[in-house]
Symmetry: C2
Subunit: 652 residues, 2 copies
């Protein structure tokens, strides 16, 4: 995962337990050597004995895995870096070939995914894989402003991206709520507007090098002219006259905008971009450009006069002017510009790339006008959608009206992880494993739309993520231990397995989060699209439509599940009474017990081949409907299936 | 935990849910401010709403928690830093007073330990605590040579030490198998002898600052004249003529020793210690000094001639000479010397401190001769002893023959975590939570010997450790997921809960580990002294000696446990066949099922009030005896209790 472009299975399998030894045929540079060492370490963790065998291999012995790489690839990885590779495995040996280091790294990941323990040894199936990505730009945006993520967490994210074959780490480094990148030319940016939470230049260089070592580009984003409160707080002379006192830690003060009428603004940008260009070698630079309200512009007589003088009737025109001034500055520093949808206004120069948070339509509009673009709208992780939904949402849908040439302008997509409701404990479980499914959408052929197969592979990939240090299992579990005050919070685990967070918007309506909010409640301790959702759906389906032992096994498994929900009830009630952090979950706990009962009764009628009394189904549906109401920032994942079960019984 | 010197409970409790607000009365420096912020963040994670209430508190509002600290304490924390504090909690408010920052930090930890969720709010019991440590030196040695631990893991360890109120991080930085500290004067030390795994000077400074921020000293150890293979590999001119080719990654090559007859050796030491003294400000410096074999000395004619000339008959005399030469060098750099037992030879200057790995006797010998000392022998974590055993082993036992003045020379103790069988995945679960019990021995009064109460508090403290990021639950669980290839390795968890690693020595005999060994087997995925050991023991005791509903509940719980062992059997057998990493556990799995059966039969006879047939008990004991045999590097923790149950039934 992601599924390769072409896979042909052969006969037998290759076992890694007989004097395994891997080596290069031909040149390999330091970056590739380091990637190879990491590959061996992971293989060793999975299989055992690998580093021992590698060490003990006699000099000159034929390698079981031969790696052949034509060259290192681009000095600064670009959009057109060749990421293709070929992996051939027979029962006797394996060969990995690639044009670049990056291609070889992609191949290492595929090799690791093919390895599994069988009959006492690590084995790979015999297979011929010829692989290359569908889209060249496969990104993940991480907002480190609303809540800060230390370098460790950033690097952990990059590790996981490498497994998912993602290739752009989009680092959202500034926003109204803070400025996270150290500038030596403008030290007040972090002195005044970071609350002490920022990356030093050395740390940013470290992250860039860390990402490059894994074949991943780093795209920095510094928002202009809107979402710029932190800059204006630090340097009010480039603002539009806003009166700012403090950082927006409660996220609701007035927002500030850079002053497009002021030459100082462009001098600031020139100097700042120049400084950042030394740290971020990528050919692209993200200027933000979204949600510029222009209120402060209109409120400032000097800016208003400037607009009148230039004949600008709307703030959008002023923003276009700003963007036009920006482009030569970015070009001077050898940067191409990326911005969000809103920058797409009449008169926008064609060499700007559009990142669409508004959707496929907006992206298509750009492409028909000749702009390159990437799609993000369907891939907002905090919408808490299922892997399935995001996997099926294509960057260029099969029914796209774009011409082939226009389609070529769409470089790919980016997953977005905004951080209003995120912190270092929850980040991994919010991003992963769901992003693996989106990464597959970005990499694999358009025709890859088999959802059950995707989930099957996602389960395995999820374990791989933990192997490189991800906390997507651990983080939520740790919060549940904290909520329960117990090393083994069984009842809470049982509940958590079948609920998920409500969407960003629903949570924002119910609980405005800011930097003082404690993100330590039940909603933070559960994950979107938990595996139980599909398991219950499949079991209900088998009970209704299946036959024989499959049906019996599904019924048994469902019954055990419902019984465990019931058993968890008393313990959960105690927890809700004891802990203020769980007090609002009391309703959900009550519903949980009722829903268990609904399920058990339905199964009992079904097994007794008895039609339930009149009104029974209505009562059960009422219970299910009650459980659909918003409560405790979480929702049950099985309600449609439970309703299906009830209806099947009453129609029996 | 550790238990304070004096605790007096009052009436009622203090709730933290009504406009909680904490603040200082009097001066507070930056270090204390940072500690206070960390304290608030942890309180917020535990209780929720704390940072919000702190932010919303009106200016001038009376604080619910007032902190009063007389001064910052020593510029470089010394052995005699005042760590005492007083904490008074009433139903209305709390006051924390201390003489130093460090004392206040100890008080913060106690405050956090008193907080728990009750009736929907975080509460502390009304209490008056007057606390100070019994021993001034309470250390933890971590060997980062045999297996390297990145800075993250080191800092995580320091975080946990702060919770345990330990105050010396003893950093074992050099040994035969590697040199882990960057020297700019002697760059070959890490270029040649670290395999790329070392700390830069900047990182070491960072760790020292990190520890100081938590009231913890850093004691560096660089071994001389033995355990010095890495130095001699890098700079053969200070060695004793050994012919070294490579780093000892397989831990079995010839060991090298510094040449005490060579003036270059002392020049090297002078320059090196001078460089390290700039990084490590602590008043002490550990020179190792243990296990110097002297083979190379005797084999080298020049050194032999030097010994003859000086009239040294043994290599021990030569080592004493070496130590005597060392002392003025260390003194020049304002360092006091610590060394292991072996340096205690006739003629050793009195101002050396002895760290005893040989035991209380050896330590007492030093004290009677006027040497200061610390005890480590009983606290070797890789001996895999129980918390109980290490907790009861006192630094100065109640029956000590030492005079009060001699006892004063014993400054405290140090826990030792050697790393032959350790890596970053397992380090936390090997050190914690057992080290909390030892830390209590070092801090709390001699009279504190209530084992069940210690375990009760250890369970709670174990959750606290996770709160600051420890992986002691997560690491073993992650390995079990990897072993099982499943996100929920239930069967393996069931087995893991009742087995523990064999001791270092037993494992070393069965499996010599070195840097090529994969530490990813069952033994690495289980912990010493798992909670189930005591639970089963208590339940067996209740079944045999208890009455009424307690007895019935214990029997029920035991039966459920045995049934879950049986149920895990088939799944575990499949795993052992599939995975080469579990192949050697097949015997343990077979025994697990048999032992479950022993337990179930015993309970059945007991409940039926039936005496089992003749020979039954012998058969069961034979099964238990079989399970005592070494296998798979692990052992069952419940065998004595199961045997007790069998005997009680047959005596019935």
């Amino acid at each position: 995962m992601p599924l390769p472009r072409s896979v042909e299975f052969g006969q037998g399998s290759l076992a890694l337990n007989k004097a395994f030894h891997a080596g290069f045929s031909g040149n390999h540079d330091e970056r590739l050597d380091a990637a190879f060492e990491r590959f061996l370490a992971r293989l060793d963790y999975r299989c055992g004995g690998i580093r021992r065998m590698q060490h003990d291999a006699p000099a000159g012995a034929a390698a079981l895995l031969t790696i052949q790489v034509a060259g290192p690839g681009q000095a600064v990885q670009g959009v057109d870096e060749d990421e293709s590779y070929k992996l051939n495995v027979t029962a006797q040996q394996a060969t990995l070939t690639a044009a670049t280091d990056v291609g070889a790294m992609r191949g290492f990941e595929t090799f690791l995914q093919l390895v599994s323990m069988q009959d006492g040894a690590c084995r790979l199936p015999a297979v011929a894989i010829d692989d290359a990505p569908r889209f060249r730009w496969r990104g993940l945006l991480v907002d480190v402003v609303r809540h800060f993520e230390p370098v460790d967490e950033v690097e952990r994210t990059v590790d996981a991206m490498a497994i998912a074959k993602l290739n752009v780490f989009h680092w959202h480094l500034s926003d109204d709520e803070g400025f996270r990148a150290e500038s030596k030319k403008f030290p007040k940016l972090t002195e005044t507007a970071s609350g002490g939470q920022f990356y030093t230049q050395e740390q940013m260089r470290e992250v860039v090098a860390y990402a490059r070592a894994r074949g991943i580009r780093v795209l920095p984003e510094f928002d202009m002219p809107g979402h710029s409160t932190s800059e204006v707080l630090a340097y009010s002379e480039i603002g539009s006259g806003e009166d700012l006192k403090d950082l927006h830690l409660v996220y609701d003060g007035p927002r500030a905008e850079l002053d497009p009428s002021n030459e100082k603004t462009y001098k600031f940008i020139d100097a700042f971009v120049g400084e950042m260009a030394e740290i971020f070698p990528d050919e692209y630079y993200h200027i933000g450009g979204d949600e510029t309200e222009g209120k402060a512009w209109l409120a400032n007589p000097r800016i208003k006069a400037f607009m009148d003088k230039k004949g600008f009737k709307t703030t959008a025109e002023l923003q276009t002017y700003f963007n036009q001034r920006l482009l030569p500055i970015l070009a001077k520093h050898h940067k191409k510009v990326v911005g969000w949808d809103e920058i797409l206004t009449p008169g926008l120069p064609k060499d700007i790339m559009i990142q669409s948070w508004r959707g496929v339509e907006s992206l298509s509009t750009g492409a028909t006008q000749g702009y390159t673009g990437i799609l993000s709208a369907p891939y907002y992780l905090d919408a808490q959608k299922t892997s399935e939904q995001m996997f099926l949402d294509d960057v260029i849908p099969a029914d796209s009206k774009l011409t082939p040439d226009q389609q070529k302008l769409i470089l790919g997509g980016e997953i977005c992880m905004w951080a209003e409701q995120l912190n270092p404990v929850t980040i991994d479980s919010r991003i992963w494993p769901r992003s693996m499914a989106i990464a597959e959408r970005f990499w694999s052929p358009q025709s890859d739309r088999d959802v059950p197969d995707m989930y099957r592979r996602l389960r395995v990939a999820s374990l791989e993520l933990e192997e490189v240090g991800l906390h997507h299992f651990f983080g939520p579990k740790m919060l549940r231990r904290s909520l329960a005050g117990s090393a083994d919070p069984e009842g809470l685990d049982t509940l958590a397995a079948v609920i998920e967070p409500i969407s960003f918007g629903d949570r924002e309506d119910a609980q405005h989060t800011d930097s003082y909010t404690s993100l330590n409640r039940l909603v933070d301790a559960v994950v979107a699209d938990p595996p139980a959702r599909r398991e219950i759906a499949d079991e209900v389906d088998a009970v209704i439509n299946g036959h024989g032992s499959d049906r019996a096994a599904a019924a048994m498994s469902l019954r055990r599940g419902f019984e465990s929900w019931q058993a968890a009830g008393p313990h959960l009630q105690v927890l809700c009474q004891r802990s203020g952090r769980l007090a609002d979950a009391a309703d959900r706990v009550r519903q949980f017990g009722q829903l268990a009962n609904v399920g058990l009764e339905a199964l009992a009628y079904m097994e007794a081949h008895t039609t339930p009394p009149a009104g029974w189904a209505d009562q059960q549906v009422a219970i299910i409907t009650d459980a659909q109401k918003p409560s405790a920032l979480v929702k049950f994942v099985f309600l449609p299936d439970l309703e299906k079960l009830v209806k099947a019984v009453s129609a029996h």
